[in-house]
Symmetry: C2
Subunit: 194 residues, 2 copies
Amino acid sequence: MPHLLLKDLPRYECLLEAAKEFPDLDPSAAEAFLHLLRTGDEAFGVTERHFAAHHISQGRFGVLMLLWRGAQPRMGAAAADGIGCGPRTPAELAEAAGVTRATMTGLIDTLERDGFVRREPDPSDRRMLLVQLTAKADKFLRGFMPGHFRSVAAVMDTLGEGERKTLVRLLVKIQRQVSALKAGDPSAESSAAR
Amino acid sequence: MPHLLLKDLPRYECLLEAAKEFPDLDPSAAEAFLHLLRTGDEAFGVTERHFAAHHISQGRFGVLMLLWRGAQPRMGAAAADGIGCGPRTPAELAEAAGVTRATMTGLIDTLERDGFVRREPDPSDRRMLLVQLTAKADKFLRGFMPGHFRSVAAVMDTLGEGERKTLVRLLVKIQRQVSALKAGDPSAESSAAR
DNA sequence: GGCTGACCGTTAGCTTCCTAATCATTCCCG
DNA sequence: CGGGAATGATTAGGAAGCTAACGGTCAGCC
């Protein structure tokens, strides 16, 4: 499990009580927020057990997925020139994965040590490397993915199609709000601050 | 931000395409799952920037909250004997926070180094320590919390009361499903496996 | 009264993330 | 064409999580 999170979320009545002391505390917002983090963490934990059983971590899996997606032969228009074939260099991988290049160096290190990727020099720019999936990685992923998909499906099995759509809609709304906050959009501030 | 997560989620059509190759892949489940993890991470990131501005981490904040909650004088029934006054020893804190005792040792180390807590021997059991919040921590929290609550409220500001209730309901449903999966409940398996 | 087992906190060593600094290479501009 | 500026990968060091193993302390049972 990734981060320290209170195991027992404060009950709603406690939030109401605390809001008396802190006018900035919005009880229903806090409740939704805590449940969001908590549930994300729990769901993550389910897949992590499957990861651990195959001796791979979330971070390394993400890199493999990125490379795998890029390695799929493209049927579409821009197939020949390799445009859009996914990230290949450590810097591109770091960008796509949302980690720093230093972190990506470490991930590629262990992936290479375990024989899942190869570093090869870029023939056209000697600053760069090209990261290649090995056959071993391909074989590993083909064995690993079905179980992973079943884990994901098991977690969401409790929701019907309509509920899933509703959930995604609400989550996307929150994502947009977070993006607006990051961009410093003043209209995205809490209404309590207006 | 906590963990490596694909910045660009695969589009739904890509999931549909991939499902042709992997029968275990449930596209709507995968979509909801990815959005859940991604949104939790994004929301977490918003508060984390506020944490970083005050030179504190999520983990240390959690410990302070636990101690603070425990330090509040109880108005209720069981006030006199100290029952229910919250965790005090490192082991209790670790249990409540959902981390190992070893991790809690490290957290208390840095918290003590920074003057937020004190370790004191338990007079009745020499194996144990009692962790005490300092006045500095109390002052810090009183200054920190309002901004934290505003961050949380800002993230959720985009949802109305009804949407928040719906979101919490769906999240709680997922949490229950995860608990059932952890307990090995066979009826909680994916319907695809039945 | 003294073992034995259980529990407490800590230590040691691993992983994966981060930032900051370093070094090689390429690009651009005068 | 020569010299910054920008870009790419790496290294070093730190934080926060984990497991495993340790020594100190208590408690229960012969």
